[in-house]
C-alpha cells in the first residue's frame, strides 16, 4: 500500500510520521497545538509513498540543524539522499512502452495519482505553522473525497470527530493482543464490527496517534544499530525480516499495491496471508494488569484432591504452580545461555497502552525502540513420560491463572489434539470462554480467556497471554523452527510465563535440566503407576536386506508371533514408506491367521486403519513415525525395525516405545528394537527410559506389582 508522510516539530525534535488518513493527523495536531513548540511546524512530504519507503525514511531520518527554516526543496533533497536509488527507482520504470517488458511499471503506478515520490515538487506538498491559519492545501485536504478504506464523512465536524474517536476505541479494543495484517483486520471486523469493515483506516490512524495501536510494515529491515557485528559477518547481506514470523525475506517482486519493483515478501508464513514490505501489520499489546500471582499457597494434597491427580502428577503440578507464582524475572531467557530456545526475537517496539489519551509532545511512541533491560517471559519444563497424563496436569495451572482474570494459551502441534482437548477443557472450566483455533476454525476472530490453538495460529497474537503452555515441544512443527519460537515469544506478555510439556525434550534442554539451569519437574511414572517397558534388543539385518531374503526375518517374526499369541496389538515401525508394502506382503504370508495392514502419511485410508487397529480388527500394523505420537491403543506391543536408522532419533524411539503398555490392564507391554547395530540413539533412549523408572522407584511412585 501507499501512505502519506509528513514531518513534524514536536517542541523538542523533528520526527517523520506516516499516516493512513492525513485528515486525522491534521485534526489531531491542531487539537494538541499548544503542546507543540511555538513555531509548530508540519511539513507534508508525500501524499502516497510506498509504505516500505516511508518506513525506511522514518528509520533513517536524523535531525539536521536549521530544519525549521527549510523550504520544500531542501526537504525533498533530504528525502532523495535518504532513500537513495530506491526513491527515484519508480520513475524509471514508467517508460519503455512496447518493449519486451516494462509495461508493468506504468500499470502498477497509474492507479493513484502522484505515484512516485520523485524528487520533484510537482506533488502537493506544504509547510504549515500550526499556530497560524491553515494554507489552502490543508483545507483542500480536509474536504477531499475519501475512499480507499478511510472514513466517509467530512472529518472535522464535531459529530464525526466524536464518532471517529468511538471507532478508534472500539478498534483498539478489538485488536488487543493481536498482530494482524490489514486483510485479517478486515475479516475480523467483518465478523465483530461490520460497520467498520472496509473503512477503518481513519480509526486506526487515530488509535495509533493515541498510542493504542502500532502500525508496522509486514516486512521491514532491522532498525537496531548493528554494533557487535564481528569482522566475519561483515559481508553478510542484510535481508529485511518479517515482523510477524521473524524469518528473513529474500524474495522481492514487483508490487502493484505500492508500485515498487522490489517489494519484499515473506515466504515462510504465506499460509496465514502474505506479509510484505508494503502491507500493514497492526499490533496492540493486551495490556491490563498482570494476573496476580498468589497461587503458591495451595498444598499438594489440595491440588491432587481437586483435580484427581496421582502423587507424581500432583508433585509436578505443584512445582509448576510455584513457578507461576514467582515474580517475573528481569533479563531474557537468552541470557541464561539458552539462545537457541526460545529463540529470542529481535523485538520491535510496542505500543504503550499507558500513553492513551495523554498526547504528550511525543504523540505516538516512535515506531521502534529497544529496551535492553526489559523483562522477558521465563520458561518451565514439565518433563512427563509418555502416558503420564500431561493434560490433567495442566488443569491446575490453567485454573490458577484463569481465576485471577488472566489469559491463557494452550498451543499444540496437531489439530486433532485441539479438537480432542476442547471438550475436556470446556467440561473442566464451564464458565470460561474457550476459543479453539486451527486452520479453518470458525472461531478465528473471537476473544476468550482460554485459547486453544495449533502452533501456527500463535502468529496472530501479540503480547496477549499471561501463560503460554506449549504441548509436545519436541514435535514436528516446533523442533528446529525458529519461526514458531518467535511467534510463541511474541504471543506471551513480557511478564508472562511459558510452560513446556514434553516426554522427550531435545538434548540441549535435557542437559540444561541436568545442570540445573532450567527450572523443571519430572513426572517419571505413568498414571497407572507401573514402570515403563524397557526396550529389548534383537539383532536383525536391515529391512532392505530382509526383503530380499525373507528368511532373515526369522528372529523378528518369532518375536512378533509371541506378541500376537499373547493377544496383543502389534505396532511395527519401519523407517521408510517404500518398505511398508513389501513387508506387509511378506508378513501376511507368514501370519495368515491374523490381519496385517500397513499405513503411512501417503495413505488416504490412514484414519480408518488406525480406528480398526484400535478395535482389534487389524492385529499387526506396519507404519512409519507418523504414528509415533498421540496414538493410544490398549494392550499393545511395539517393534521397531531398522532401529539404527538415522531417521529414528532418541526422541522418536522413546515416543514409539511409549506406545506400549499404556493401559492399566496390560501395563507391561513389550518393546523390541531390531537392528543390525546398536546406535547411540538407541542407547540413549533405553537409558532415558531406565532412568525415569529409577527415579519413579526412588520417589515411591511405583505400585508394587
Amino acid at each position: 500500500m501507499r501512505i502519506a508522510v509528513y514531518a513534524i516539530w514536536n517542541g523538542e525534535a523533528w520526527t517523520i510520521k506516516r499516516s493512513l488518513d492525513m485528515r486525522v493527523d491534521v485534526l489531531w495536531w491542531t487539537q494538541t497545538a499548544d503542546l507543540l513548540g511555538s513555531p509548530g511546524r508540519v511539513v507534508f512530504l508525500a501524499e502516497a509513498m510506498a509504505f516500505s519507503l516511508a518506513v525506511k525514511l522514518e528509520q533513517g531520518f536524523g535531525e539536521q540543524p536549521g530544519m525549521k527554516s527549510w523550504d520544500l526543496g531542501k526537504w525533498n533533497r533530504m528525502i532523495c539522499e535518504l532513500l537513495g536509488d530506491e526513491g527515484s527507482d519508480n520513475g524509471k520504470r514508467g517508460a519503455a512502452f512496447g518493449g519486451h517488458a516494462g509495461i508493468s511499471g506504468r500499470r502498477a503506478g497509474e492507479t493513484r495519482s502522484g505515484f512516485t515520490f520523485g524528487c520533484d515538487s510537482s506533488q502537493r506538498q506544504w509547510i504549515w505553522d500550526i499556530h497560524e491559519t491553515a494554507p489552502e492545501a490543508v483545507h483542500l485536504l480536509l474536504a477531499e473525497q475519501t475512499g480507499a478504506g478511510r472514513m466517509d464523512a467530512a472529518i472535522h465536524t464535531a459529530n464525526t470527530a466524536e464518532e471517529l474517536s468511538r471507532q478508534a476505541a472500539l478498534l483498539s479494543e478489538l485488536l488487543q493482543g493481536r498482530s494482524l495484517l490489514a486483510a485479517e483486520v478486515d475479516a475480523l471486523l467483518q465478523e465483530s464490527a461490520p460497520m467498520l469493515a472496509g473503512a477503518w483506516y481513519s480509526a486506526a490512524q487515530l488509535a495509533s496517534l493515541q498510542g493504542r495501536l502500532a502500525l508496522h510494515a509486514g516486512v521491514a529491515a532491522d532498525a537496531r544499530p548493528r554494533w557487535g557485528r564481528g569482522p566475519l559477518r561483515l559481508g553478510r547481506a542484510r535481508h529485511p525480516r518479517c515482523r510477524r514470523c521473524g524469518s528473513e525475506s529474500v524474495s522481492r517482486t514487483a508490487c502493484a499495491a505500492c508500485g515498487r519493483a522490489d517489494c519484499a515478501y515473506c515466504e515462510a508464513c504465506l499460509a496465514l496471508g502474505r506479509s510484505r514490505a508494503c502491507s500493514l501489520l497492526l499490533r496492540s499489546a493486551a495490556g491490563g494488569p498482570p494476573a496476580v500471582r498468589g497461587a503458591a499457597g495451595q498444598s499438594t494434597a489440595a491440588v491432587r484432591g481437586r483435580w484427581g491427580l496421582s502423587a507424581a502428577q500432583g508433585d509436578a503440578a505443584c512445582a509448576a504452580l510455584g513457578f507461576l507464582a514467582e515474580p517475573p524475572r528481569r533479563g531474557s531467557a537468552a541470557k541464561s545461555g539458552r539462545a537457541w530456545w526460545p529463540l529470542m526475537p529481535r523485538r520491535a517496539g510496542r505500543a504503550q497502552p499507558g500513553a492513551a489519551g495523554a498526547p504528550s509532545g511525543q504523540g505516538a511512541p516512535s515506531a521502534v525502540s529497544y529496551a535492553p533491560e526489559e523483562t522477558a517471559p521465563t520458561g518451565f519444563l514439565l518433563w512427563a513420560v509418555t502416558g503420564a497424563g500431561k493434560t490433567e496436569m495442566i488443569f491446575p495451572l490453567l485454573s490458577s491463572i484463569l481465576e485471577q482474570g488472566g489469559r491463557v494459551l494452550v498451543a499444540t502441534p496437531r489439530r486433532d489434539v485441539v479438537l480432542e482437548l476442547a471438550p475436556r477443557l470446556a467440561k473442566a472450566f464451564g464458565d470460561t470462554r474457550i476459543v479453539t483455533l486451527y486452520g479453518g476454525s470458525t472461531e478465528r476472530w473471537q476473544a476468550g480467556e482460554l485459547t486453544l490453538a495449533t502452533t501456527h495460529q500463535l502468529m496472530r497474537f501479540y503480547q496477549a497471554f499471561d501463560l503460554v503452555i506449549i504441548d509436545e515441544l519436541d514435535a514436528f512443527p516446533y523442533h528446529n523452527d525458529p519461526m514458531l519460537a518467535f511467534a510463541a515469544q511474541n504471543a506471551c506478555k513480557p511478564d508472562g510465563k511459558f510452560v513446556y510439556l514434553s516426554a522427550t525434550p531435545p538434548r540441549p534442554l535435557q542437559k540444561e535440566a541436568a545442570r540445573g539451569t532450567l527450572i523443571h519437574a519430572k513426572v517419571p511414572v505413568r498414571f497407572h503407576g507401573h514402570p515403563l517397558p524397557v526396550p529389548k534388543r534383537i539383532t536383525l539385518k536391515s529391512i532392505e536386506q530382509c526383503l530380499r531374503q525373507p528368511l532373515l526375518l526369522k528372529s523378528l517374526t518369532e518375536a512378533l508371533r509371541q506378541s500376537l499369541e499373547r493377544d496383543a496389538q502389534v505396532f511395527l515401525f519401519v523407517s521408510r514408506i517404500r518398505h511398508i508394502d513389501p513387508l506387509v506382503t511378506v508378513l501376511r504370508r507368514i501370519f495368515s491367521a491374523y490381519c496385517v495392514e500397513g499405513t503411512s502419511s501417503e495413505d488416504p485410508l490412514r484414519a480408518v486403519k488406525v480406528t480398526s487397529f484400535r478395535q482389534r480388527e487389524i492385529r499387526l500394523l506396519v507404519t512409519t513415525t507418523i504414528l509415533e505420537r498421540g496414538v493410544t491403543v490398549p494392550r499393545s506391543d511395539v517393534f521397531i525395525a531398522d532401529a539404527d536408522s538415522g531417521l529414528f532419533d532418541e526422541a522418536s524411539l522413546v515416543q514409539m516405545a511409549g506406545r506400549a503398555g499404556r493401559s492399566s490392564e496390560d501395563p507391561a507391554g513389550r518393546v523390541v528394537f531390531a537392528s543390525p547395530q546398536w546406535t547411540i540413539s538407541q542407547k540413549r533412549a533405553v537409558k532415558q527410559i531406565m532412568s525415569m523408572n529409577r527415579i519413579a522407584r526412588k520417589n515411591g511412585y511405583l505400585k508394587d506389582s
Binding site: G98, A254, L270
Partner: protein, 286 residues
C-alpha cells in the same frame, strides 16, 4: 566421548553430502532439475503435460463436449492451447501462486508455458505448411502478446496480475512485444465461484479496450505498410491479419478468452480496419 565423535562425524558428513535444495512445490530437500526452475525430479515427473491436444480447438487433452455446442461456432479466437491439465496438484500450484501470493512460482509457470508456446508454434506452422508453401517461410509467430487483465481492486489486493506476469515472462524469452490491450471495466467477482452460465453472462461487459495499447497496434500497422514485409511471408488470407497471443492462467469454459478476443477483434477492426487472428495460450486447461 562417543557424543563428541558423533558430533565430529556428523560435521564431516555434512561437509561431504551433495548439495541439495528445497523443492518449491513439495518442500522436500533434493537435487533440483535443470529445466524447470525450483522443483525436484519427482515433482517435474508428475506434471500432467498436454503434449498433444485432443480437441484441436480448445486444447483439451480429452474429448471436449463444450466445443460441439452450437454457440461456439462464432468464437472470436482461433484456438487455445494449454500447458497442463488442471489436476489437483496443478490446482495447488496455481493456488499457491495466485491466492497465497508465492511469487517464486512465476518463473516455473513461465518456463512451462514457454515450452508449450514452442510446441504451439511448431503445430500451427505445420498446419500452414500443409498448404504447399515451404515451411521456413511459414514459421508461425505471434506479432504481439497480450494478457487478460484483472480489476484494479483485485490488483491492489493481490499486488500482481498473474496473466500479466506470465505474458511478460514469455515475451522476454521469445522476444515478442507485450501490449496491454484490455482493461477490466468492472469487478465481476471471482470466476471460480460461478457456474458456467453465470460466467458467460458476467463476462459480457467486463472488458473494454485500452487506448494506449491500440496506439501500439497503429505503429505496427504503419510499420507494415511502409515495409510491406508481411506480404512476403504471409498467405494471401492472413496478409495483414494481426496475430495476437492472449495469455491467461487457466482456461475453464473459454468465456473469458472468448470475450477478450471479441473485444479486441472488434476494436482493431473498427479503428484500423485490420483483421486479427487471436490465439490463446493458458497455463492450465481444466
Amino acid at each position: 566421548m562417543s557424543a563428541l565423535s558423533f558430533a565430529f562425524t556428523h560435521f564431516i558428513r555434512n561437509l561431504l553430502t551433495p548439495p541439495g535444495d528445497i523443492c518449491l512445490t513439495c518442500g522436500g530437500k533434493s537435487r533440483l532439475v535443470r529445466n524447470w526452475p525450483g522443483i525436484c525430479q519427482r515433482c517435474a515427473d508428475g506434471i500432467p503435460w498436454i503434449d498433444k491436444a485432443r480437441c484441436l480447438y480448445c486444447g483439451r487433452a480429452f474429448g471436449c463436449p463444450d466445443c460441439l455446442r452450437m454457440e461456439v461456432r462464432d468464437r472470436a479466437f482461433i484456438l487455445n492451447r494449454s500447458a497442463v491439465q488442471y489436476s489437483d496438484v496443478m490446482r495447488e500450484w496455481l493456488a499457491q501462486y495466485k491466492y497465497r501470493g508465492h511469487e517464486r512460482y512465476a518463473q516455473l509457470l513461465i518456463r512451462m508455458m514457454s515450452h508449450t508456446l514452442v510446441q504451439m508454434e511448431r503445430e500451427i506452422s505445420a498446419l500452414h505448411s500443409g498448404a504447399g508453401q515451404p515451411a521456413s517461410k511459414m514459421r508461425w509467430k505471434p506479432d504481439m502478446i497480450t494478457f487478460v487483465p484483472v480489476s484494479t481492486t483485485r490488483l491492489m489486493e493481490r499486488g500482481f496480475n498473474q496473466a500479466q506476469v506470465l505474458a511478460e515472462g514469455l515475451g522476454k524469452i521469445h522476444h515478442i512485444p507485450i501490449v496491454p490491450l484490455l482493461i477490466r471495466s468492472e469487478h465481476t467477482g471471482k470466476q471460480s465461484f460461478k457456474t458456467r452460465q453465470e460466467r458467460i453472462q458476467s463476462m459480457q461487459h467486463a472488458f473494454v479496450i485500452d487506448p494506449e495499447g491500440l496506439q501500439f497496434i497503429n505503429s505496427i500497422r504503419l510499420d507494415w505498410s511502409t515495409r510491406s514485409k508481411r506480404s512476403l511471408t504471409g498467405t494471401p488470407q492472413s496478409m495483414g491479419a494481426l496475430r495476437i497471443l492472449l495469455i491467461d492462467d487457466i482456461y475453464t469454459t473459454g468465456s473469458t478468452v472468448n470475450t477478450c478476443s471479441g473485444v479486441m477483434q472488434n476494436a482493431v477492426q473498427h479503428y484500423y480496419g485490420l483483421k486479427t487472428e487471436i490465439f490463446s495460450l493458458t497455463w492450465a486447461r481444466s
